[in-house]
Subunit: 218 residues, 2 copies
Amino acid sequence: MSSTLQKKETMKVPEPTLRRLPWYLSNVKLLKQKGERFVSSTQISKEINIDASQIAKDLSYVNISGRTRVGYEVDTLIAVLEDFLGFTNMHKAFLFGVGSLGGALLRDSGLSHFGLEIVAAFDVKPELVGTTLSGIPIYHSNEFKQKMQEYDVNIGVLTVPIEIAQQITDSMVEGGIKAVWNFTPFRIRVPENIVVQNTSLYAHLAVMFNRLNFNEIK
Amino acid sequence: MSSTLQKKETMKVPEPTLRRLPWYLSNVKLLKQKGERFVSSTQISKEINIDASQIAKDLSYVNISGRTRVGYEVDTLIAVLEDFLGFTNMHKAFLFGVGSLGGALLRDSGLSHFGLEIVAAFDVKPELVGTTLSGIPIYHSNEFKQKMQEYDVNIGVLTVPIEIAQQITDSMVEGGIKAVWNFTPFRIRVPENIVVQNTSLYAHLAVMFNRLNFNEIK
């Protein structure tokens, strides 16, 4: 990848745009399966009910240009979007806390199709340490800093109990982790150069339950 | 629950508030473990770096009042928040698509601590149909409407391939599902009285990768 391209691709893209781009990607993949070779933002717009002008604006962040009256070439658009979203470039991660959710994520091989490979996990439970789950080794938490030397990792997946969420985060950052994917319902604090992505399934459940109750009562 | 309380709890609470409330809950749980009996919004504010006035505003949706100079009683605040967020009231759900992510969610018993119980799953793969996973039965997808009669379910968890995401959603809605928890990267369309909660792990990955690259280049 040329460094100009690298620069273009590493612009700080607005989060709403980054969240919509995977919708366009999955939609365009479907159109490809249906035999389409070109797609316009108007076509995507009809399928997923988002303004065509919004779609064109979102796609302007991506290094692709459409042709007048023909639109984007489907194969190119898929390749460019996957690359732009980071799904083609494998990112290695450690997972912290092999409980119910942590174990589930270790078993979810689907993440690797989207650029995330969990290469090792950490826990303190004697019955887990030294074993593997879906082929992924589980080490004792106090081996973390040593393992940072062995593996080329900069992402940490946080699935520990809330009581130790901050402490484990601090230790991750000390060890050189640059991005924390936080699945706990705890709001962790990090230095400003560290990326935090919060994915609280519980917060999403709360929103869904509230909307459901609201619809039932109204 | 009195109907007045029911009404109050089923107000359409702003989504950002609903997403922040679980942070307060986990924080207050920690304070309880440390032996605290009362907590003020200023205290929570210091811990999680959100404006105290925002916290007080968010908590005003919840049926609790603090006492001047003392704050909220910790035990009551936890109980009221858990109830308000729907975590104490078990919601039954069906899961559609026992692939890698679907299987992982069936194994994640943690969801039940937050009010979601997946009572059955559906797939078409002969090697899955008729088996159980973590004690949860897997039925053939064409048995869904019949099973809607047997189980008291109104939530569907969607973890199918994108090619059939819309079709399975349509069938869910036809069968009487009122809320769809969509884990696919596909933007599904539903009638306006149906709740959709999108939780795309892949979109979150895309945001994290972009921010990480941005920090590395800058």
